[in-house]
């Protein structure tokens, strides 16, 4: 069988010649190839296969040639892979954010060798893993395009660090004994302090001056007088039942906000089984973020701060209160009564930098037993050490020409000193001026020698925010440029051969007991002692003197000014950070600028804008150009835009510092038309007893008859009594009937079988079970202070585009998470204003209205309850955005990210009317360097698509994989959203709602009575719930509430909700 032969023709059978030829030729007939010349097809010059090759090649070549515009980007793999780097897997390093004395232990997420995200360090007992917006945004500063890249002398590049060292050493050697002064911001680092001492020892007569951009020196002096310590106590607000702030923004910017937030939160969380909460009173001149969270607010003039403190002292000591304003007087008496009733569990914090006022505040705290209870002196805080008089003396010495060399690190008095001009002139009289700085800031500009400094993410270091509490710093990336950190430089200039890294290692190994312990400490990032509480001896000797000084203090004029820090911008050091610039201010919701906040009364008087009138308020709301005013303080005059905000004392104006930076620090401080964003108002501060006080008593303000566009992300301030949007109650009312919210919801949904049946009965469509994972989020409105750390964290985690001021003006901002801020109360009565913050993000509705309207199904629902976006599929009809009741969907109006297929369309000049002209800051975010901050796990969205909160789906996937690999069920720690992780107040809880053990299930179970869904009646079935805000106050304004029936007298006051 095997040999059986099959044949098709006789030719094949006999294997004839003709047959052989046929086999050779594929085609029976001759093909019309020219050069075939009778040979076999395979022997031709260009046989069939070659022809196919040519065809293939030419097609490929044409295709390549046609698409050659695509730039080739090389991704070169490691030749030798570092052991710790696995592409696609993040490493986390504990380090410390240090900025001007502020110390926050953090963990840097490093992906493929570059830090991309900052989280709080959970191991720290001080911050407990909390972060602030500025910490969140600090990773972007590392990749700032305006960073200095090489050392320079007189603005000319110096070839190497060694050459620079030589130059400076020669210059220092040639001083002829004139003193060397090191000017820095507050340094809490023990090793750095030691290095400074060693360095200065080499230059006899030299000294180290610490200077804080925002001065706390009055308070330091007062504490020294009262407690014998030039430091601050820890404010343990968790122990306080009554918290009183006098102009102290202690949740936002004052002293150590994170630590204070952590404590304060504990007193504000509501346990439904036993509803109790602390009572927060705030006396202030303007509406600060902290004031916005107060249960009761009383406003006063800046010049009255002393009087308020003194009256409060009098009241708690049983004397009469002598404040003229009746409301304020009643308030002080009420507060005093409450303070006395809670002796040992009450505290007063004052934001003034006036020694006398702080002496009085110390006396109040002593009288109410705060010392040793709420005020903990066991580990005093050292985060601010600058004393204004020392700096003033330095400036005097410099002016006199008696300073030989001035070495400046992390201090920028040419910008932020009250008398910057004097400092600027004085620098000229210093022979050798050296600046160690990351940026060409206003002070560095004046210096002869400039040595670029490392970013904190490139540095080694340590910090001691509180005595005995250490936080270590380790680099997360090699220095990007030719930079060197201060400690290394000082060591070199001291003549030491040790690098700071080794110095640091030795220093800490000795301190913690060996190399192994050192490495362990480095890994943990913090070294902290066991918690202890103690008071300190109090000395009231200065009280009488302070009382006399306050009583004789100059009265303010008709209009007064108060300067404040924005929670986003602070002292302005990070002004070139577009994430911070674009973060809306918690109160005004304005981005990119500073402005004078004025009261509705002043607005009417100056500009004739009556925001109490609904029509006028509407017009004022919707128009972006706001009137400008000319503000005169002493001899200084500025013209600045104004914004009307209720809640500010009628005759007080407030302006934020930190704006109006030099354009040399980066492109983000300018608008595309060349105008500077905001103005520097540090110069408007006044000096009182040698201390800088951020207020001015005699101010004139006039209509400048000009307008300026302010980019506001929220224009309407009232929630119009829409209780389906937010719910708030008084503590008393909640205690009386804890179930009232639940009952109201149940009643509303009664036609659909009440709450229990609503999901099924609220629709005509069939109901499906949702087994497996079901992601859910709970946001506690009682804990949210509106600080915005979550907003920046979300931006960083999800590569949310920066759109610049010009686009925010057109309501084109891209934030996936925003914080809605609502006012209620009488706009004419500053004290009555109640504020409510509501973080608003995609609610991941199970019956999402956005999903069914998309013609191409680009947005759809996952089996885990996520409303997800398929960017590739999106064609940009924006129907989903229109149909979203929460308006959380964001559309890419222009090519913000450079991810578009149309080249060069970012440099659109706008054409007629200059439409769509993008700010430099947007282009800056697209720089190769800046793009290194992008999270590689998240797609960069191109123009024309919709995007929105994804519940950080990349983190959820990672968490699920992790749990799967470890063959266990998912736990809460596996997946946290960026906003949740950033929130210092733990207002956000997230997890698998189908798991009864998860925190989200427990939160929903434990807070049944406060829980609600925004716009629940629409049957969109959100997966984000809120917990109602409970106010520890007599009445909730702005809503018609049957439960509030008893408060007829307040009802009369309600009037229209506040607008602005």
């Amino acid at each position: 069988m095997a040999n059986k032969k099959y044949w098709q023709s006789f030719g094949e059978l006999h294997n004839s010649e003709a047959h052989q030829e046929n086999v050779q030729n594929e085609f029976r007939e001759e093909l019309p190839f020219e050069d075939l010349e009778g040979k076999g097809l395979l022997d031709a010059k260009a046989p069939r296969r070659d022809f196919l090759k040519y065809l293939g090649f030419s097609t490929a070549a044409a295709a390549v040639a046609a698409s050659c515009e695509v730039p080739v980007k090389k991704a070169i793999p490691y030749l030798n892979k570092p052991a710790e780097i696995t592409p696609g897997v993040a490493n986390y390093y504990a380090t410390t954010y240090v900025s001007g004395g502020e110390v926050i232990p953090v963990v840097a997420k490093v992906r493929d060798g570059r830090p991309i995200k900052i989280e709080g360090n959970d191991l720290s007992a001080i911050t407990k893993g909390g972060t602030t917006p500025r910490v969140q945004a600090s990773v972007l500063d590392l990749y700032d395009t305006a960073r200095l890249r090489y050392p320079s002398k007189d603005g000319k590049e110096v070839s190497s660090l060694e050459a620079f060292d030589k130059m400076v050493s020669e210059a220092l050697a040639g001083l002829g004994g004139a003193p060397v002064v090191l000017l820095t911001s507050t340094i809490t680092s023990p090793s750095t302090k030691q290095i400074i001492t060693e360095f200065l020892a080499k230059y006899p007569g030299g000294r180290h001056v610490q200077y804080d951009a925002i001065s706390y020196s009055g308070m330091l002096q007062a504490n020294e007088a009262a407690y014998g310590k030039r430091a601050f106590p820890a404010y343990q607000l968790e122990k306080a039942k009554v918290v009183v702030g006098i102009g102290a923004d202690f949740l936002g910017t004052w002293l150590n906000p994170l630590e204070q937030q952590k404590g304060y939160t504990q007193g504000r969380k509501i346990n439904e089984a036993n509803p109790e909460m602390s009572k927060h009173y705030q006396f202030e001149c303007m509406l600060s973020m902290t004031g916005a969270n107060a249960d009761e607010r009383f406003t006063h003039r800046p010049s009255e701060t002393g009087a308020v403190a003194l009256s409060l002292l009098n009241a708690v000591s049983g004397q009469s209160v002598s404040v003229s304003d009746a409301k304020l007087k009643a308030g002080i008496e009420k507060v005093a009564k409450d303070l006395l009733a809670n002796k040992g569990a009450a505290v007063v914090m004052c934001g003034s930098n006036d020694v006398n006022i702080q002496v009085i505040v110390a006396a109040i705290n002593e009288a109410i037993g705060a010392n040793g209870t709420v005020l903990n002196w066991a580990a005093p805080s050292q985060t601010r050490q600058g004393v204004d008089s020392e700096f003033a003396k330095l400036v005097t010495d410099m002016t006199a020409g008696s300073i030989g060399a001035l070495l400046i690190w992390d201090a920028n008095p040419a910008y932020d000193y009250a008398d910057a001009e004097k400092f600027k002139a004085a620098v000229k009289n210093v022979k050798v001026s050296v600046s160690f700085n990351e940026k060409m800031d206003e002070t560095t500009e004046l210096c002869k020698y400039v040595l670029p400094a490392n970013n904190y993410l490139e540095s080694w270091g340590d910090a001691e925010p509180k005595a005995g509490y250490y936080s270590l710093m380790q680099p997360t990336i090699s220095p990007l440029f030719k930079t060197r950190q201060l400690q290394d430089t000082l060591l070199v200039w001291t003549g030491s051969k040790t690098a700071y890294h080794d110095y640091f290692n030795t220093f800490w190994a000795a301190k913690v007991g060996g190399q192994a312990a050192y490495l362990k400490a480095l890994q943990a990032g913090v070294i902290e002692p066991a918690a202890a509480v103690s008071g300190t001896s109090y000395n009231g000797a200065k009280v009488a003197e302070a009382t006399a000084a306050i009583n004789s203090a100059k009265k303010g004029g008709e209009i007064e000014l108060v300067l404040y820090e924005k929670v986003s911008m602070g002292d302005g050091k990070q002004a070139n950070n577009p994430w911070l610039q674009e973060m809306p201010d918690p109160i005004t919701k304005i981005t990119w600028d500073n402005y004078a906040i004025i009261s509705p009364a002043l607005g009417k008087k100056l500009f004739g804008i009556d925001v109490l009138n609904r029509t006028a308020a509407d017009t004022y709301d919707v128009e972006t150009p706001k009137p400008m005013a000319t503000v005169k303080v002493g001899g200084k005059e500025i013209t600045i835009p104004t914004i009307i905000v209720p809640g500010i004392q009628a005759n007080t104006i407030a302006i934020a510092v930190g704006y109006g930076r030099s354009e040399k620090i980066g492109k983000a401080v300018k608008h595309y038309d060349g105008s500077t964003l905001g103005q520097n108002v540090f110069g408007l501060a006044t000096v009182n007893n040698g201390n800088v006080v951020y207020a001015a008593g005699d101010v004139t303000i006039t209509n400048a008859n000009k307008k300026y566009k302010l980019a506001q992300t929220q224009t309407h301030a009232s929630y119009e009594g829409r209780r389906e949007v937010v719910k708030e109650l008084t503590l008393e009312s909640f205690k009386k009937n804890p179930k009232q919210i639940w009952e109201a919801r149940d009643k509303e949904l009664a036609p659909f079988g009440g709450l229990a049946e609503y999901e099924k009965e609220g629709t005509i469509y069939p109901h499906y079970d949702r087994p497996g994972i079901k992601w859910g989020m709970s946001i506690d409105l009682n804990s949210c202070y509106g600080c915005g750390a979550c907003v920046v964290a979300c931006t960083a985690e999800n590569n949310v585009a920066v759109v610049g001021k010009s686009e925010v003006l057109r309501a084109h901002e891209m934030h996936w998470l925003r914080i809605d801020r609502y006012f209620s109360g009488d706009a004419a009565d500053a004290d009555s204003i109640q504020t409510l913050f509501q973080p608003m993000l995609c609610q991941h509705c199970d019956n999402a209205p956005c999903e069914n309207v998309c013609p191409v199904a680009a947005t759809n629902h996952s089996s885990e309850g996520l409303n997800q976006m398929t960017y590739n599929r999106c064609i940009g009809t924006r129907y989903c955005a229109n149909n979203c009741p929460y308006k959380v969907r964001r559309f890419n109006w222009a090519d913000y990210t450079g991810a578009d297929s149309f080249p060069d369309n970012q440099k659109n000049t706008g054409g007629l009317g200059d439409i769509g002209h993008l700010d430099e800051s947007v282009l800056m975010m697209n720089d190769e360097l800046t793009r290194m901050v992008l999270n590689p796990d998240v797609t960069v969205r191109s123009r024309g698509v919709i995007e929105k909160c994804s519940f950080c789906v990349q983190r959820l996937q990672e968490g699920k994989l992790k749990a799967k690999k470890e063959n266990r069920t998912l736990t809460d720690n596996d997946a946290k959203t960026a906003c949740q992780q950033a929130c210092a107040a733990d207002a956000i809880v997230f997890g698998n709602a189908n798991n009864t053990e998860s925190q989200i299930s427990k939160t929903r179970q434990d807070n049944k009575n406060r829980m609600f869904f925004t716009l629940e009646q629409l049957h969109v079935l959100p997966n984000v719930n809120y917990l109602a805000k409970i106010r520890n106050t007599d009445v909730v304004l702005g809503v018609k509430d049957e439960e509030e029936e008893g408060h007829e007298e307040h009802k009369a006051e309600k009037k229209e909700a506040a607008h602005s």
Partner: protein, 481 residues
């Protein structure tokens, strides 16, 4: 048959000026055969200019993004969809006239149907530009077509009203185009037969599909017209119904309204007739077709305008009533944003009300219905009003919806949004000018149909019949055949 053909003497003739068949052909074909007039050239140039400005506006929108428009996070649709709905609305009159009135045997339609149908087609073409170019990524617009694909396969979302729009409008466009073209065939053949130049003969020869005018052709033509009329009739009602679903099926107060379908259809007919008036008043003047588009036609259309305008008015009032009666605070607030004169966009609501509801009431007076100046002015006013109706529905509903935090800045269009709209006017009039130059603007064959019973000569000729006693007339007729 004779009895049924009888038309009352009291009705004015629909074709005046004692026309003969030949004269009809001459009058209507004249503009096609003559050189374009100066007026035509000026108009055409302006149209082309508008069209190119529109094209540049769209170019900017495609290259730089929708950010070239002033839409924002709260107002996702503005002039784009307003213009879309407006143009679609205008595109309703033509098919209504040609289809529904054909089925209802309204003789007067013959004078206006050709131009009205052309207008429909051009208006729908203009309308189509907006949903296409309002997309953020227009190059992916084909995603809305349910074509077999290798992506899964990935289908379109049949739940989405926008997808229904795609089907509704493309169907409407196709059927309207076919209907219009079918009607054109005999007339194109007439032009062909009269043509002297070779290219002209050839062009119209091709366009007329070899029409010979045989009985068979006529018979098929009539059947086809009837079938297409039958197909178009439901479409007239469905297209705007479906467009209204874009809003009615949403959750946004002010959009989520069950009254929308009939109210949109009435509004569409209202604005469509107004646009027909605008165009025909110009056409009859410029092309001297006063004998064919008579005051009778104008008056009849004005009657439709006052009827549909009043329907629309009732719908507006019903909406207001329901917003109060329904006790839904969100809906009440949405409508307050319209009627409350103190709100930022209330002016547009009152503009809409006065243009659409109050001003057409003037047509209760016969004198006004037959006044050409008034009619022309009103036709413009009605379309301004109807534009604002869509603007009010779209913008004032979404600019202040559920969460007051999103009540955003004032929405004003940019120059490029306006440019896009102007561009569609350019497109519309460019097409219309070309149409009036190359096609008979009045259906010659159909006019000839009614010439016998409604021509002026006929009306005079039957004058004696009116005087006859009915019995006598019946007797005469019975013995006539």
């Amino acid at each position: 048959m004779g009895l049924l053909r009888y038309e009352s003497q009291t009705r004015n003739p629909l074709v005046t000026g004692h026309k003969t068949y030949h004269q009809v052909t001459e009058d209507i074909v004249r503009p096609i055969e003559a050189k374009p007039s100066k007026l035509w050239k000026i108009g055409f140039t302006i149209s082309l200019f508008l069209l190119s400005f529109g094209a540049y506006s769209v170019y900017r929108d495609v290259v730089y993004g929708i950010g070239q428009w002033n839409l924002n996070k709260t107002v996702g649709w503005g002039w784009d969809i307003t213009n879309f709905v407006w143009w679609v609305g205008i595109g309703h009159a033509g098919t209504l006239i040609s289809a529904i009135l054909l089925l209802f045997r309204q003789g007067w339609r013959t004078g206006v149907n050709r131009a009205a149908e052309a207008m429909t087609i051009f208006a729908v073409m203009c309308a189509g530009q907006f949903p296409i170019f309002h997309m953020g990524r227009v190059w992916n617009a084909f995603f809305v077509l349910p074509y077999p694909n290798t992506r899964g396969p990935l289908w379109v979302n049949f739940n989405s009203p926008l997808l229904w729009d795609v089907f509704a409008i493309s169907t409407y466009f196709t059927v309207s185009l076919l209907f219009w073209y079918a009607g054109l065939l005999p007339d194109l053949a007439t032009v062909r037969d009269r043509a002297k130049e070779k290219w002209r003969k050839r062009m119209y020869g091709v366009l007329s599909f070899g029409w010979t005018g045989s009985t068979k052709h006529w018979q098929r033509h009539e059947s086809l017209s009837l079938v297409l009329a039958g197909l178009s009739t439901p479409l007239v009602l469905s297209v705007h119904t479906i467009v209204s679903f874009d809003f009615a099926t949403s959750v946004i107060p002010g959009w989520h309204t069950t009254i929308f379908p009939p109210y949109f259809v009435a509004g569409a007919i209202f604005s469509g007739f107004a646009m027909v008036q605008t165009l025909l008043l110009i056409v009859r003047k410029v092309l001297s077709l006063e004998d064919y588009i008579t005051l009778e036609h104008i008056e009849v259309m004005n009657k439709v305008i006052v009827l549909t305008g009043s329907i629309v008015g009732i719908a507006y009032i019903t909406e207001l009533f329901i917003s109060w009666y329904g006790q839904n605070p969100y809906e009440a607030a949405a409508f307050r944003n319209r009627w409350d004169i103190t709100t930022p966009l209330a002016w547009s609501y009152y503009l809409m009300m006065s243009c659409n509801v109050l001003s057409p009431q003037i047509f209760w007076f016969r004198k006004m219905r037959r006044n050409i100046t008034v009619t022309f002015f009103m036709s413009i006013i009605v379309n301004v009003g109807m534009w604002f109706e869509r603007f009010v529905i779209i913008v004032t509903s979404i600019y202040r919806d559920y969460l007051p935090s999103s009540w955003s800045t004032y929405y004003r269009p940019t120059i490029w949004e306006v440019g896009f709209y102007m561009g569609t006017f350019g497109l519309f009039f460019t097409c219309f000018f070309l149409f009036s130059k190359f096609f008979p603007v009045i259906a010659i064959a159909e006019i000839k149909h009614i010439l016998k019973k409604s021509g002026e000569s006929y009306k005079e000729g039957v004058g004696g019949i009116e005087a006859q006693a009915p019995e006598e007339f019946a007797h005469e007729q019975a013995h006539a055949h």
